[in-house]
């Protein structure tokens, strides 16, 4: 087991290191550097200004040199300053990360908690009217564009009924927990509705497969209560592939949800990463993207470890 763990840890570290270069190179290969873009916004800039600013920001150096310089500092824990925000990249990231973890964490949990009973019930009654209705609703939830859903929710609950605020964050100073939660309702609802369909379909498919296995027939033959067979025997096995899906979704805890954040004016990681990439803010974009990569890799590693612990065949491979 320890050999397996060390091997996977090494692989994960190498993957993160490789991704740091890939991300750096991809941002660097995008057309137009930030100073060129600045020029289109400020007609007062002269060619001298452009040359000077490029030198200040190190944009006059080849990309490999820039990457190696960044890597050297990153290895000492110094991730540099955000060009866009003129603050340490880590300091810019901190509050956004907390916002996104809260929004995505609540949404993912809500989606999983809602999806689980619906999917299990649908699988237990596969082919019935209820199952078909759940399927149809899932497809609707998956198909509806997030921005449109957000707009509908804002119009219904904020404009028409006036029950909930349209913004994701309160504007008052020290708004209190209740007010903060009230502002989170609509963005969380948007993300939950958008995610729940997918979760239901994953769990339902796994449950249908599990319910057709021999051990389920055996459990029934032993005279176990059908509810016990469903929730203990079938669900336990069906949850294994779902854990993989959840592990993959973990990246979203830090990568955020660009559209939802934009619609609700919610300062999260999705918008930050987008702005950092589009603004060629290397330090910020890299730190954010590496964080997403590292968390996704870590969650997958955890899933692998859990699998290995549960299934000895995986360890032996």
């Amino acid at each position: 087991m320890s050999h397996f763990l060390v091997r996977r840890l090494l692989q994960a570290t190498m993957l993160v290191a490789l991704m740091s270069f890939v991300c750096y190179a991809l941002i660097g290969l995008m057309p137009g550097d930030p100073i060129d873009l600045m020029l289109s916004a400020d007609p007062r800039l002269t060619p001298d200004d452009i040359a000077r600013l490029k030198a200040i920001h190190g944009l006059d150096q080849p990309i490999l040199e820039r990457y190696l310089a960044w890597l050297g500092k990153a290895l000492t824990g110094e991730f540099g300053y955000s060009r866009l925000y003129s603050q340490p990249a880590a300091a810019v990231l901190g509050p956004r990360l907390a916002n996104t973890a809260l929004l995505m964490g609540v949404s993912l949990t809500a989606a999983a908690l809602i999806a689980l009973p619906i999917a299990v019930t649908a699988a237990a009654h596969a082919g019935t009217g209820f199952d078909r209705a759940v399927n149809a609703l899932c497809f609707a939830g998956i198909s509806v564009p997030t921005f449109w859903l957000a707009l509908v929710l804002i119009l219904v609950f904020a404009v028409e009924l006036g029950w909930l605020p349209a913004a994701g964050l309160p504007m008052a100073r020290d708004p209190g927990l209740a007010e903060r939660a009230r502002h989170l309702v609509l963005p969380v609802l948007t993300l939950t509705i958008a995610a729940v369909g997918g979760h239901v379909r994953y769990i339902r498919a796994a449950m249908v497969e599990a319910l057709g296995q021999d051990y389920i027939r055996t459990a029934h033959a032993k005279g176990l209560h059908p509810r016990r067979v469903l929730w203990r025997h079938a669900l336990r096995n069906a949850l294994l592939p779902y854990v993989t899906i959840l592990a993959l979704d973990c990246g979203a805890l830090v990568s955020g949800a660009l559209v939802t954040e934009t619609m609700f004016g919610y300062p999260g990681m999705g918008k930050l990463i987008f702005d950092a990439v589009m603004g060629n803010d290397y330090n910020l974009a890299l730190l954010a993207l590496l964080l997403v990569t590292a968390l996704t890799v870590a969650c997958n590693l955890l899933a692998d470890v859990a699998y290995a612990a549960l299934d000895p065949r995986i360890r032996q491979r």
Binding site: M30, P31, G32, D33, D36, L37, M38, L39, A41, D42, P43, R44, L45, T46, P47, D48, D49, A51, R52, L53, I56, Y81, L84, Y85, S86, Q87, P88, V92, P95, R96, P145, F147, W148, A150, L151, I154, L155, A158, V159, E160, G162, P165, A166, A167, G168, L169, M171, R173, T262, M263, F264, G265, Y266, P267, G268, K271, L272, D275, M278, G279
Partner: protein
Amino acid sequence: MYRMLSAALLALFAAVAPATASPPAKDELVIGITQFPATLHPNIESMLAKSYVLGMTRRPFTTYDKDWKLVCLLCVELPTMENGLAKAVDLPGGKRGVEVTYTIQPGAKWGDGVPVTTKDVVFTWEVGRHPMSGVAAAEFYRRVTRIAVKDERTFTLHVDKLSFEFASIGGFQLLPEHLERPAFSDPTKYRNRTLFDTDPTNPGLHFGPYRIVEVQAGSHIALERNPTWYGPKPAFRRIVVRAIENTAALEANLLSGAVDYVAGELGLSLDQALAFEARHRDRYDVVYKPGLVYEHIDLNLDNPILADRRVREALLLAIDREKLTGSLFGGRQPVARGAIHPLDWIHATDLPAHAFDPKRAAELLDAAGWSRRGGGPRQNAAGERLVLELMTTAGNRTRELVQQVLQSQWRQVGIEVRLRNEPPRVFFGETVTKRRFTAMAMFAWLSAPEAVPRTTLHSESIPRPDNNFSGQNYTGYANPEMDALIEKIEVELDREKRRRLWHTQQHLYARDLPVLPLYFRADPFVMPKWLRGIEPTGHQYPTTLWIENWRFAAP
């Protein structure tokens, strides 16, 4: 498709939304804009959202008012040659410079009570001219060779170039020496240490009617009255500037009451505002202010087809710009006859209109050797078809609509136009700046009142590999007559003589047509009926520079 869905939804809810009763008097105003400022340092980076917010917290020495007249804000009197506050001087090497004297408004104090003085002036100049400080547009700071301090409030700038704009120092934004000096101890680190970004709610950074009290990055900035402000007390106790990038969500926030007013500088698109006005004119006033954003088509004059002036004129005559702005923009965006806005005092009123005249366009094309056989595209004697490519920014719905209308109108006279669009980043980052568009590129220029077009029309400003693609003369236009006019205009101090030079310049532009003028964009200001005192300027200086005039008034 998505926009249509959003519009339909908003219209549906508008139809059933209850009418709101008269609002109670408000002492807080929530302004919605579509961008969040990345930095709050007045001299690092250039961003409209930042100028908008800082318009409430500080004042430039000079600005252009709503009538596009240069006025003093932080200074007491505008320097002129006549009042003796400006003096032309001869410099070594035959150059001419200018000495301009300003006095800071008495009573101007930073938010922590420290007076705004000439120490701040000298410090700001030191920061601005240091090559490593990160100040973006440093040309002004380099041109100021010395600052002579007379006393705590009066100083003289010694500028090494005499130009008619000598009195305009709107970009010279003061920094508080008593707070920022330590951050500037290592100039290379200044841009990362400045209090404007590390401690933006420090009261000592602001001397305008408001000071920043809260910054929630990416969401909103809250401001409250500045007790040390020397001008009239502003009406609103608290202002919140809220950033909502999606304009459909911004509109929904406005309707829900989460936002009171949508700023024209960074707000709804024109088509959205027109639809909004039609549905909500009982609760909101929408003011359209045509501004200095000049939509046009740059022609690549290296293209042999476009090198022929007759073809360029035919392209312009073949499009019905009046009808285009009428049908797409409700006539709110005036047709441009050139790059100079009609509100600018230098605008020539007698420019050729180049009104829609497909017959004349056809004659010009015939004369240029592009004849038409049948209903297809025209061909020259060598059998080559008259095919041009029109590029613009992908995803800009308005431009894409305009593009389709133009393509259809040009087809009527036998010009085949192929559309090829790119994301703004590629379009502006590579294609336009490196002159990689083969024929036509549609975009906009943002200028200032009486802006000299040196970077866009002077032959020295043509981007080339040997000048590292600097300059913005993307058409490749080179005319010694235009170069000479630009150089003369820059140094002509006599207003009447300068007006004549400007008129000549505009006629030359209309004759040579290196660019096809389309229209001037208008900003829609969506104001609740109870909000008064906002006066859209139409130029780059934001309305917030006069925020002390904004007030609540029961409708």
